[in-house]
Amino acid sequence: MTKLTSLTIKEALDGLKKKEFTATELTEAHIKASEAAQHLNCYITETYDHARAQAKESDARYAKGEAKLLDGVPIAMKDLYCTEGIRTTAGSKILENFKPPYESTVSGNMFSDGAIMLGKANLDEFAMGSSNTTSAYGNVINPWQRKGDNKPLVPGGSSGGSAAAVAARIAMGATGTDTGGSIRQPAAFCGITGIKPTYGRCSRFGIIAFASSLDQAGPFARTVEDCALLLQSMAGYDPKDSTSVNRPVPEYFKSIGQSVKGLKVGVPKEYRVDGANPEITKLWDKGVDMMKAAGAEIVDVSLPHTKYALQTYYVIAPAECSSNLARYDGVRFGLRIDGKDLNDTYEATREAGFGKEVKRRILIGTYVLSAGYYDAYYNKARRVRKLIWQDFINAYEKCDVLLTPTAPTPAFAIGENEQDPVTMYLNDIFTVPASMAGMPGISLPVGLSADGLPLGLQLLGRPFDEETVFKAAGALEKAADFTHLPQSLQAKAA
């Protein structure tokens, strides 16, 4: 491991400003690290030449003293973000050769701020999955391993490539999207930090849709402060997305380091599920103690409809996905398998282009929206969703943030939890409620499991109050002082 790849974004920006190294050197170090970590399969498409060109421009800006917020910082871009002229697959075979003629607003924002793109990060197909095993481009391998066991583990999902790249020190930060936990859960599995901001905080324009009312962009990094820097660049109103919200973007990094004295941290009793992993429960208690020690006030709260969140999610998200994915018909772009007539072409194209999980969700979604089942499923789910949202609003009358575990288990081995989809879906049990309610949430590593895997806790906040979330996360990060490295990096460091 070279020194440059172990820097935080903040440190790198300071170093670049002080001319200790150039953006080109920083980028080359990460390209070299990426090449050495190819077996992790973090990228679907590597864009090293593109990165080198961007680094050159960045160096020119530093030379002229015109550096921007993220100038020279090499990042991984989840391959769900459309990047102009650069292949964008959504992890699906159906978009194997798709080069968008447009740039997503969020990636565009980051490039305007000088960020450098190393590659398009692997993900679950169309962001549908919790283990990155549904990608048509092979699963990503988590850089962490269990103590004394070299079984490859999943990085979580759907933003698995992004999380693994940041954890493996081959990118300083990454973009993800979170629909039901797709940023927070892989952040927890890979021992890094990831935030899903409030729904509407980042533009969805140019991000390939899975479930439009839930999808939200957010960053991964190795520190809370780095996440704040990235989010500041990503966030903002976009007239091209009718669901993005027109309110100013604060300087999030200023919240970090602020005292949490008197901050009310809610602990929702419904998250103490029967048969919970005791290690997770222990970590949660530890987190509560840390916040208390930092001066926060702990409040018991109730989110009574939590138990319906997952079921509701698996009605709403597939319903929207079944409609969002109708456009992949082989007519205008992407894969096309010619059949004997139009319907045959549709069937052959979608049969060959979509993987098993995507097909399953399209089927579920089509079913819950169909005549005769609509009220029992889709309409009921929408009503329950409102109740879940109300739970949070009620809770935030008693507290400022909520503290919960991010995932019910540490990272599991590739192939585990594949026996039935419900076991896999249960991975999102703690992350889905905040997604359904559109609330912001951050996951950060707080400890290790007995077999040496990172465990994360989640802090949820009020709508558009990312600042308080960052403040609380900064305090928890400081208290947890998580400095562990994935085994592969430890070996190299030694």
């Binding site: 973000y81 459309c82 964008t88 959504a90 978009l95 798709f98 968008p100 003629p101 447009y102 997503s104 969805r204 324009f205 140019g206 991000i207 390939i208 849709a209 479930a211 439009s212 009312s213 007239p239 091209k240 997305d241 009718s242 669901t243 319903a319 929207e320 079944s322 409609s323 994915l325 109708a326 456009r327 018909d329 007519v331 205008r332 772009f333 139009l342 549709y346 089509t366 929206l369 169909s370 005549a371 609509y374 889709y378």
Partner: protein, 470 residues
């Protein structure tokens, strides 16, 4: 016969409903398509505010309830000219609710037709089946164009009523400037629902005839379809609920798909668009800018002294009404109406020209009428002047001057001519005086003729009466 119509009217805007691409007609295939209209990954719709404004404007013009809360939903189905795999439309919460319009029937009577709703939706692209022997082409220029779907209540009972309804609706949207109403360019299309029943029976099963694109075809399609249904029932059969196509070549309808094959559209609120919430002030501001609509204008014209028939003819087209009002300005309303609906319309018709191609402008025609009113020329001479104006495009006054057609109102000069005529016809005077009253006309005619048609007929009458009774 029970008829209800769904009219799709393209909203008159420069750009599409959810993208910035141009919505104009007639461009080369697939040249007016943004990635949003082509359903590309990651693309999102953004509502064109002007479309909403025009939909509200139309709703107000239909005397309908404006819903301050409306929702765009997705209507899901697969077809190559539907790039997203769904059409963004309004379903449970349309922007405009119930209203009504008055239609004018050929016999001069009127009838109120209820409007069920008006909602806003995007158009699909166009499949072209005649470009290649075995393949179909898709033109997405129309994809995403803004449409208003105006649904009537089943209040029409004859093909004439349906035709009158479409005609009236078209006039209203044109007055409002919310749709150009060009049916041949597809900016107004009708789906016609027809059922038949015996008087007093409950409603029969209906068939829907899709995409009928002229008033004449609407009438033909209804006549054929009603006859077909009656024949089926009288032959002991039953009507199946189905969607039918109108064949413009032979004026018949044929089955397209039955109810069993009907799509399950799986409507649900489009998560890319928030519910549309309007302020009452937004609606009120639009209300303030509404023009006078055909019915109000017709009533005003009748109050001005026009016949109901003339008033209907004049208001049927916004441009014709405007033309007429310019002609009638400071002129006799009735005379102006006659000139516009008879002389001008006849000349235009003969020349194969439309009103906006008229060689005689409204101001020029008004000028002609003023010359009649102030006795510069007689009504008879005016017709000749008009013919010259139509041929040359010159002003009436110039032609009158040029050709020396100015009416003689100088009593002395006319008296001279009268005296001449009387002197030339002593025998006729004798006959007249012996009781042949009809000869009075002869003297008038002779006098006018001698004056070259320029003598003021009223003065001629007066003088002759005086002299013949002396």
């Amino acid at each position: 016969m029970v008829i209800g119509l769904e009219v799709h009217a393209q909203i008159l805007t420069k750009s599409k409903l959810f993208s910035g691409a141009s919505a104009s007609f007639g461009a080369a295939p697939n040249t007016q398509v943004s990635p949003i209209d082509a359903g590309f990954p990651g693309m999102l719709p953004v509502i064109n505010k002007l479309c909403i404004e025009k939909a509200v404007r139309t709703g107000l013009g239909l005397n309908a309830k404006i819903n301050l809360y409306s929702v765009f939903e997705r209507k899901n189905y697969f077809y190559p000219d539907l790039p997203q795999g769904y059409q963004i439309s309004q379903y449970q919460h349309p922007i405009v609710g119930e209203g009504e319009i008055e239609i004018d029937l050929p016999d001069g009577s009127t009838k109120i037709i209820g409007i069920e709703r008006l909602h806003v939706e995007q158009d699909a692209g166009k499949s072209l089946h005649d470009q290649h022997p075995s393949k179909s082409y898709v033109d997405l220029n129309r994809s995403g164009n803004p449409l208003m779907e105006i649904v009537s209540k089943p209040h029409m009972n004859s093909a004439e009523e349906a035709a009158a309804y479409v005609t009236k609706l078209r006039a209203i949207v044109r007055y409002l400037d919310t749709c150009d109403g060009n049916m041949d360019e597809g900016s107004m299309r009708c789906d016609v629902n027809v059922s038949v029943r015996k008087p007093g029976d409950k409603l029969g099963t209906r068939c829907e005839i899709k995409n009928v694109n002229s008033v004449r075809f609407v009438q033909q399609a209804i006549e054929y379809e009603a006859r077909r249904q009656i024949e089926v029932i009288e032959g002991g059969g039953t009507i199946k609920q189905e969607t039918r196509l109108f064949d413009t070549k032979n004026g018949t309808t044929r089955a397209m798909r039955s109810k069993e094959d009907a799509h399950d559209y799986r409507y649900f609120p489009d998560p890319d668009l928030l519910p549309l919430k309007l302020e009452q002030s937004f609606v009120d501001d639009i209300k303030k800018t509404l023009p006078e609509l055909p019915d109000a204008k017709k009533k005003r014209f009748i109050d001005m002294g026009l016949s109901s028939y003339d008033a209907s003819v004049l208001v049927a087209e916004k441009e014709r009404a405007a033309f007429y009002e310019k002609v009638a300005n400071n002129n006799d309303a009735k005379m102006a109406a006659n000139w516009v609906t008879t002389e001008l319309a006849g000349a235009l018709n003969k020349a194969g020209k439309s009103l906006d191609e008229s060689p005689v402008s409204a101001e020029q025609l008004s000028g002609l009428l003023k010359l009649i009113a102030d006795d510069t020329i007689s009504g008879k001479i005016a017709k000749d002047v008009f013919a010259a104006m139509f041929a040359s495009g010159k002003d009436a006054a110039a032609i009158v001057e040029e050709k020396g057609l100015k009416q003689v109102t100088d009593t002395g000069a006319i008296e001279k001519i009268v005296d001449e005529v009387l002197a030339e016809n002593p025998d006729k005077i004798a006959e007249y005086k012996s009781g042949k009253d009809k000869l009075f006309g002869f003297f008038v005619g002779q006098t006018l003729k001698k004056s070259g048609g320029k003598a003021n007929p009223a003065i001629v009458n007066d003088l002759l009466k005086k002299k013949l009774s002396a």
